[in-house]
Amino acid sequence: MSETGVIHDIGYQRYAGERLGRLAALNALYVHGLRASFGLGRSAKAKIFPWLVAGIMLLVAVILAAVRSQLKQVIFTYVQFADQMSWLIIFFVAILAPALVSRDMRSGTLPLYFSRPLRAADYVTAKFAALTTAVWLLLGVPQFIMFLGAAFTGDDGAKGVWNEFLDLAPGWGYSLLWALLFSGISLLIASFTGKQAFAAGGIVAVFLLTTPIFGVLSILPSTTANEMAGLASPMTLIAGVGAWLSGNTENTLDPGRFGPVYGIEAVCLIAVCLLLLLARYRKVASL
């Protein structure tokens, strides 16, 4: 009986359990980044912004779904929804990309990561995948709500649902393109500074400053210049790729015969962003 009240100091215990490899660490960093994007596991203050953006987009989606189901009117298609939400997405990546990478840079945490099995490429992959997933969810979930509103209130039964899904799938793909390009650009900018406010300003500036270039080019009295104008700004670039792939040029800009150029530029831009990110972190990782 007298033994029960005694606190034993069991001393240091060696760890004999399982040790997972780099892939597990990469996966853990990805999940951590994705959670952090939505403020999970962070302070209440960090939750406000992502959920405000998500809330607005969900609200819009619910309204669109309601209008679609009650009045049978299509206000935005899935692709148009992504286009209309572009500024919200820009603000989202402008706040979240610095939260994902600038924070580690500012607090000097990187040496702790890179003294572990994790490599620069793993770090970049995990962060890029996390932000891409976050942006894609931000667009994809509201699009899915729109789909629910449209598909299950129609009169065509299963066939109607399937047709609606065929509309949704390209919309999701389009959202993924948004997510890839915007994550790449914003992470690259954010990785150059430890100050979150600077990084956010830089990201918004890049998107903001390229828009007037597009504006000027698109009103020049030359069809070629007009058709190529979209290449100047990331937002119109994606719109151009979307128009080229779907062949639908109403309401959006018309890439004309330069469609493939838009596609190539989008792919190259994403690749270049990732390569520069990798080069940046290679340098940081060697301290």
């Binding site: 760890y15 040496p111 702790l112 003294s115 572990r116 099995p117």
Partner: protein, 304 residues
């Protein structure tokens, strides 16, 4: 058991800065002090051992593994505590250490358990759910130590662990490092520019200067024959020195003190006899342990 072995290790950075030159050491398990002035090459040595920078020439083996080619295996067995501030202010210590445990490849639940354990061992148990931003410098140093300990390494590389701590904090940190080295069975390399600090807790010492090895040895062999008696008398120091020399003792002067090597206990008697025969006022007669620092200074002057 040799845990770190280097052979003619040299690191030259681009721009011709030589951080390490021709360093050859073999270090046994235990608490190892790595001493040198700022810029002596201590941090470069640590980075090479972690595989963060490749050596320009020469070889290095940690646990008989090559950090350049077997980086993952080395890093899995090594914990690193950097010199600089490396903690984000807006997470709790518990979360942060858990996260880094997972980065070291621990499964989720194991990482959480090990994080609590590590924080408990460094003396942060009650406070671990508070945000790091509100911690004192001493507590932050402990969190840095805990994150190096979380994946149960076989070797800890601590870069200036007492940086920025007050005297009491320094003592506590050194005691903790000593405990890790002796009770936990983990070898520790402690980097410092303060020799007096690390010599208290280390089994062996590596001293480097300007990238070159000054001396590497066990502390015990460094201080073995270094006991001296310090004698201070009111006046007549010169006469006493002469008398002691006449009695066959080697005497050296240090200001008002006479230093006599303590070869046997008979030295006490001989000194006392000499003092009483000369009828001098003895102010002080005490045994003094040679500081390791003095060994280095004599070695250096001998080199010149």
């Amino acid at each position: 058991m040799t845990i770190i072995a280097t052979e003619a290790l040299t690191k030259t950075y681009g721009g011709g800065v030589t951080a390490l030159a021709d360093l050859t050491v073999a270090v046994d398990a235990g608490v190892i002090g790595l001493v040198g002035a700022n810029g002596a090459g201590k941090s470069t040595f640590i980075k090479i051992m972690l595989g963060l920078v490749p050596p320009s020439s020469g070889t290095v083996r940690v646990f008989d593994l090559d950090p350049v080619t077997e980086t993952d295996k080395v890093r899995a067995r090594v914990g690193y505590m950097p010199e600089n501030d490396c903690l984000p202010p807006d997470v709790s210590a518990s979360e942060f250490v858990t996260h880094l445990g997972r980065m070291s490849g621990l499964p989720r639940t194991a990482a959480r358990e090990r994080a609590s354990e590590a924080l408990r061992h460094v003396g942060l148990y009650e406070e671990r759910y508070r945000q790091i931003g509100g911690y004192s410098t001493g507590m932050k140093q402990r969190v840095k130590l805990a994150q190096a300990l979380v994946h149960d390494p076989d070797l800890l590389l601590l870069d200036e662990p007492t940086n920025g701590l007050d005297p009491a904090g320094r003592d506590a940190m050194l005691a903790l490092v000593h405990r890790i080295g002796t009770e936990f069975g983990i070898s520790v390399v402690v980097c410092s520019h303060l020799l007096g600090e690390v010599e208290r807790i280390c089994d062996s010492l590596i001293a480097i200067e300007g990238g070159r090895l000054l001396r590497a040895d066990r502390i015990s062999s460094m201080t073995a024959v270094s006991d001296v008696l310090a004698v201070e008398v009111a006046d007549g120091t010169d006469e006493l020195a002469a008398a002691l020399t006449a009695r066959g003792l080697t005497v050296s002067r240090e200001g008002r003190l006479l230093l006599v090597p303590l070869e046997s206990d008979a030295a006490y008697d001989r000194i006392l006899q000499a003092v009483s025969e000369l009828d001098l006022n003895l102010h002080r007669l005490d045994q003094r342990r040679h500081r390791v620092a003095e060994l280095f200074t004599t070695k250096e002057t001998a080199d010149v």
